[in-house]
Symmetry: C2
């Protein structure tokens, strides 16, 4: 994700190209982690927080694999974008990338440390990402309406902002799983206590 | 999903409005299914195919909840789209909706019946959905370049086509989980045998 957005800002084709195809090790880990989780469930029959931690790992594993796919989607959009003249100075998209990466890092740290308050912070940051996405869309719509030659590259920037927002969504999923893992409290859909412990 | 796209084709505001907010029962079921799966895992310590079926249920549960969110995203885009004159006759988007709904139904049937060949069929259909998404994008880009007044509504149609493609992605996830559940064979990332049975 970092390389793809850095490649966009610096117009660095080589950097972007390294992202494309970079999901092979992620895909291998995806399969390996799933396999290990199933073995743990089958062999050790864990209970309560251990059970929730392993099921959370299966779900987080899926989220991370999708983040890898989204990094590639971003890189593909950056490659198309670089075939045109730059539409505008990029401010909001690098900002979105910073927030999304921070959310992802915090959500994973919260899993490792079983830290509910850190997970909660991730949930709060999602709104800012959403606001920036709307802002990017509005700015680019103005450009497109004024000058049709900016339509194609603007569409790629809009796509990139949406991919970044979806990375934030995955971080949110992970944070929700962590809160459930630690507290057996389901924070999705503003639910109350539905403990499995 | 069906109501949102029917509302788009028929320009039926009432139908679209019923979709918005229609995720409350889905969200309740999401929480309840998760809770039941954890109880099954904790109380019955299932093995092999039973274990894989329950973990698959946890993952499918997440996929279906996201499909509900996407139906709402589609309905929101339809509402915005209807504020403008129609850009074009809609052919590819209803076709995409049919395919995505068919994939979703088949993927769930394949889970219930533990039917690998049906799950495999779902995986094959994803390419058609992807091709239609590209077609929709190209058509609308042409309209936008010719007539800037079509930019805003065209963007919403592009978004709708991407939401439908993501529904197909969720059906694909479910189908992959079914194949793993039944055969302990991981078909993601063209992986070989990594059985957990």
């Amino acid at each position: 994700v970092r390389s793809a957005v850095e490649g966009l800002v610096e117009r660095d084709t080589a950097l972007v190209d390294r992202v494309l195809g970079g999901d092979v090790p992620i895909n291998q880990l995806h399969i390996e982690i799933d396999s290990r989780c199933f073995k743990l469930l089958a062999l050790h029959q864990p209970m309560a927080v251990d059970l929730r931690a392993i099921v959370a790992a299966v779900k987080i594993n899926t989220d991370l694999e999708r983040v890898g796919d989204l990094a590639i989607n971003i890189a593909e959009a950056v490659r198309r974008y670089m075939r045109h003249a730059p539409v505008k100075e990029l401010i909001d998209i690098p900002r979105m990338a910073d927030i999304a990466q921070g959310m992802l890092r915090d959500s994973l740290d919260s899993y490792v440390r079983q830290d509910i308050s850190l997970a909660q912070r991730v949930l709060n940051e999602d709104d800012e990402l959403d606001a920036l996405k709307t802002q990017v869309f509005r700015d680019l719509l103005t450009f497109m309406l004024q000058d049709p030659s900016t339509i194609e590259p603007s569409l790629d920037l809009i796509l990139i902002s949406r991919h970044l927002e979806r990375i934030g969504d995955h971080a949110t999923n992970i944070a929700e799983d962590v809160i459930f893992m630690v507290s057996a409290r389901d924070v999705r859909h503003h639910a109350g206590e539905v403990g499995a412990s």
